[in-house]
Amino acid sequence: MRHHHVRRTRIALGFLIAFGFVLSGAIGALAYFMPAIVTALQDTGHAIDRNLPTTTASASASPGSSPSASASAQPVEAPPGAPFTVLLLGSDNDAKFSGTVLTQSMILARVNPTTKVVVMESIPRDMWVPLSTGGMAKIDAAYEHGGASAAVATVEEDFDIHIDHYAWIGLLGLVNLINQVGGIDVVATNPVMDDFYPADLTGRDPYAYERVAVLPGPQHMNGMQALMYVRSRHGDLRSDFGRSQRQQQVLLALRAKAKLLGIANLPDIATAMGNDFSTDMTISEIASLLPIASNIQLQNVRQVILASPYTSTGERDNEDVLLPDWNLILPETHLYFPAV
């Protein structure tokens, strides 16, 4: 009887020790991934509010509004392996624009995991559209009026498409992300010259200007240089369209660097992004995108820019704006992004 008791005690002790080792290992792993876990909790899984009040009835009656603008469709989650659409948002987020954050960049991306084809369509920030939250404005104001949910709803309604996910990144987040991956390699399309580039990230007067001169040709850019390249627009004949093209270019360069990363790099990336990133995707969905991104070949990436004749310059509310020709934009968009 006593022998039996001793045996049971030893087995229990063995289990206890084994459990202690497993627990210790788990704590070690947890400590390593803590920055990524904190980021996952703070910045991911921000569900899109699809119940925002919309005013599409008045909007669709406005001149220049999307002929097919309608209430945002309720989400139908794409099954695993099916094509999905992500709205990529980039914006100011510094104190200068506190409370009035505009999106400087809006890129619709359609990813087909099966065919490994990606389409990127840049939406000009000055496009004059009906907002999901009411009234007409430049599309970059949608985020200001209702955050990512309003930006998603506005694009869904105006372009008559369904967006599965969004990802937002602030200027500093982009800078830090690029620095974290060791910079990116870019073939600068032309000399990017700007004497009125906002000096809001360099610690001087946030309303001051600084000069930018990105020289042309292949080069290695750090985060701040890449930001100047994608953010400058004053010296470009194409204004925002030139910037849109450069933004897509930098995204592809980042994708090339992402191929070098593994799951053990996530904590460093998460620390670098800090609070300058948010998405409705979960961390597991983001992780599942990494192998897709690394398997996509450049020749399978199609880039769409809504320049003339899709848009034309005009003036509304004493502002220079871009007026969309929805009769051209919608068929082009629906070639790649299914109509709802």
């Binding site: 073939v187 080069q219 010296g235 004949l237 194409r238 053990a264 450049l298 820019i305």
Partner: protein
């Protein structure tokens, strides 16, 4: 006592195991080399000895490569970063660009890196009028004369967004920005990379924007502000022209059809003001800044050796001929400034550093 020791030992082992798991995961992290992991050129030796003397820029300093050894010119970076060296023919001197945050100036330096003369003064002291500053880049001396070509962001109206480079010329001993050579297309970035050719002409990259895309064409200017001769088409999107020493060929970097994610190094014959069919020496690369050896035995260019994006120096022997040798990587673990074309003097200089 013995039991307490055993428990302590087991707990210590558990803690060690947890720490080990943590470090094991950390060891699986993919290391992406940063700037700090790059060597300074003087700590390395090139794989081959190239003729003459090459001047190259890395991390804001300028290096000389001669007789198989790098020499650091030890230029002070307190006012900005040094780049785009250009040798002064028949001397050990160079002209180089000192790039500050909002302006850049040309300087004349001797072979030891001492400043002989500040050639331009493009800084404006009024902090709230940054547009009154100016840029000068891409200096290139004309052999046999004191003439210098460079790109300059003049003329511009202080109140405009139009800031474009034009090609200018002047003399080292006289007025630097004496003549505006090219008229740039406004709001394109303008004209860069001028190189002198025989007969007083200058070849350069001329940027334009059409059909929503920015592109470059190789242009030749035979007289100041005259109509340029365009040697390549918009679809080819070629720039960074480097005329061979005998003037019969042009090496250039072309982007057309690459989706803006890579380049091609091409060489084409130049005859009667026209380029022949281009021969692609390197395809699907990030090749930049070709420069011919002064004796015409080959050419060098920059291209990253791997995905880290650090630009190394490469050499193609026999690039003037019909069957050039395959590219040879000359340097390792360096990171040259790919926006600084190398300058190649025929003179061999004695390295300053002890061997």
């Amino acid at each position: 006592m013995r039991r307490a020791l055993t428990v302590t030992l087991v707990l210590a082992l558990m803690a060690g195991f947890g720490f080990g798991v943590n470090r094991f995961i950390a060891s699986k992290k993919h290391t992406i080399p940063g700037e700090s992991s790059v060597f300074i050129p003087t700590a390395t030796r090139p794989k081959i000895v190239l003729p003459g003397t090459l001047y190259l820029a890395q991390n804001g300093d300028i290096y000389r490569l001669s007789d198989g050894f790098f020499t650091d010119l030890h230029l002070s970076t307190s006012k900005g970063l040094w780049m785009q060296p250009a040798y002064v023919p028949n001397t050990q001197d160079i002209v180089a660009v000192l790039r500050a945050a909002e302006y850049s100036d040309l300087y004349l330096l001797n072979g030891q890196g001492q400043i002989l003369q500040q050639l331009s003064n493009n800084a404006n002291p009024h902090l709230n009028m940054v547009y009154l500053n100016h840029w000068m880049f891409y200096p290139h001396m004309v052999p046999g004369s004191g003439t210098i070509y460079f790109s300059y962001d003049q003329p511009k109206d202080s109140a405009t967004y139009a800031v474009d480079f034009s090609v200018w010329s002047g003399t080292l001993g006289g007025k630097l920005a004496a003549t505006q050579v090219s008229d740039s297309n406004p709001f394109t970035g303008g004209d860069v990379d001028p190189s002198p050719m025989a007969g007083g002409a200058v070849i350069y990259s001329k940027f334009a924007i059409g059909s929503g895309n920015a592109y470059s064409q190789i242009a030749v200017q035979t007289k100041p502000q005259g109509k340029p001769i365009l040697l390549t088409t918009p679809a080819q999107d070629c720039g960074q022209p480097a005329p061979s020493p005998d003037g019969t060929r042009i090496a250039m970097i072309c982007i057309g059809g690459t989706g803006l994610q890579s380049t091609r190094l091409e060489v084409a014959t130049l005859h009667a003001g026209k380029l022949g069919p281009p021969q692609t020496l390197v395809n699907n690369c990030l090749c930049a800044d070709p420069e011919w050896a002064p004796d015409g035995s080959g050419l060098v260019y920059y291209d990253p050796a791997d995905a880290t994006g650090h630009f190394e120096l490469w050499w193609i022997a026999g690039a003037l001929g019909a069957a050039p040798a395959p590219p040879l990587q000359v340097t390792t673990n360096l990171d040259f400034d790919a926006t600084s074309p190398p300058s190649w003097s025929p003179l061999t200089t004695v390295p300053v550093m002890a061997r």
